[in-house]
Symmetry: C2
Subunit: 285 residues, 2 copies
């Protein structure tokens, strides 16, 4: 009844008997509590966040709905294990383009072990985390011209430098992502732009992060999704969700300057693509 | 003719025959080009910035005026050395309260030597740089009740944690900074608040940093100054200036997310003080 998610682009993958998240056919995402403290921390965050009256309603929509922890058959065959039951963000999409962007100019935080610090700083330096304040950690884009999904290898994605990250964000809204030619940004104005577009949602999040001192979202990602199956109305159903809360800490009265700075850098990249592609997109899809 | 600055609160001090900045009696600040690359880098920045047509005029006011490099008698008696000639920010103030706040959640940046990285990360962790996105690096406050200047030792200032930094920002606008009693924040509304106050200036800077991709201001400080000598009009002449540009890099199309995040965290601290001290201040000075 539970199966491996079709559109997961980052994190542990439940394949070849490995432990990873599963989905059901009713739009729920089952994320196993990892052995170490991380699973517990993430479940604690969801418990705290769901009951936190200081979180505005319009902000809750940017987080997956939390349905508590349940025992479920683990993907690695190790029997029943506790899973966080979350909203499956891509449920109901036929041909979703999905991108996972880890926000922040560092993924470590005060009081982590030296081993974890060294692991993070190494990866933060090898990716665009330090230089851009964010890094693309996974993507899967539907190529409308080839009418198939395009998905670069993880090692390729994690090797992106500034230009690679910019290119990925252009491909994400292009009808020719897998082509070697210049990405046409055909869907930029529909997906990034507009009152329901991704930029508008990111700006709403930004306004909250400017003053919120409840949580520090260390090593947390923004998941972007939109639909490529053109139905009756050409509604793209562009979505922005925050995911991965294993390293969230209390804000203790201080804003999350690490997430906020990275978010604003990311927003600038989206704005630049919208501006540079305005003309092309009017002729686009 | 050149003398040791009276109100310098951070950086190298030209005392006991050490090399440091000097001032003249015409409002100019002479900063020696340090032996290593830093002096050259800072002079290069001032040259670039002064001639950069993409910097809005209202933003230039937040930087010391640059008058070029001149040979001047060095404070360490080593004869004539090249000095950057800058606007002396505190010139014309009789009893200035001054605070230097280093902005950013890191003082290192990509491609620095491992030695410099280790030195920075150690100091960033020991201070509030990582936790708050800024650290107080020096202050000198005029105590109106004792009618003398109060200046904590450097080692005390650099040992501030979150509460110490918040306390220093409260003392900065109090008539009783050196007392053990609670800082009265008597001048908060005059100095931090108002259309000419420090918060208004910080918000103007913030708006620029939200989109500027010209420079990355690594390890750069915000200098805050105001007057305590009450003349005819009680004009506080509150000032905000960016200083110390030895580690500025080109932005290359990316916003300075490290400075921006720290600036917004700092702004939140100022806003909190204004809100919490509103009542007291109305009865204040």
């Amino acid at each position: 009844m539970l199966k491996v998610p079709e559109h997961q682009v980052a994190g542990h993958i439940a394949k070849e008997g490995k432990l990873g998240p599963l989905v059901d056919d009713r739009g729920r995402f089952y994320k196993p509590l990892q052995g170490d403290a991380r699973g517990e921390n993430e479940a604690k965050f969801y418990e705290s966040f769901s009951s936190n009256k200081n979180v505005p309603d319009h902000i809750r929509g940017y987080f997956p709905v939390y349905h508590g922890v349940q025992l479920a058959e683990a993907s690695d065959g190790s029997g029943k294990l506790p899973h966080m039951v979350l909203e499956d963000v891509v449920s109901g999409y036929v041909k979703p383009s999905v991108m996972d962007v880890k926000i922040g100019s560092r993924t470590w935080y005060p009081d982590v072990s030296e081993e974890y610090f060294n692991k993070c700083i190494k990866k933060d330096s090898a990716t665009t985390t330090i230089s851009l304040g964010f890094r693309v950690s996974g993507l899967k884009i539907f190529d409308c011209q080839e009418s198939r999904f395009w998905r670069p290898e993880k090692r390729v994605v994690l090797a992106y430098k500034v230009d690679g990250a910019r290119m990925a964000l252009r491909k994400f809204v292009s009808s020719n992502p897998s082509a070697d030619s210049v990405p046409d940004c055909a869907y930029a104005s529909e997906v990034y732009g507009g009152s329901n577009g991704i930029l508008a949602k990111l700006l709403e999040l930004k306004a909250w992060f400017e003053t919120q001192t409840l949580y520090h979202f260390n090593s947390c990602s923004i998941l972007m999704v939109y639909e490529n199956e053109s139905g009756g109305d050409d509604e793209r159903r562009a979505q922005v969700k925050l995911v991965d809360f294993a390293h969230v800490l209390d804000g203790n009265g201080v804003i999350d300057h690490n997430f906020f700075g990275g978010l604003c850098s990311f927003i600038k990249f989206i704005q630049d693509i919208l501006e540079s592609s305005d003309n092309r997109c009017e002729n686009g899809h």
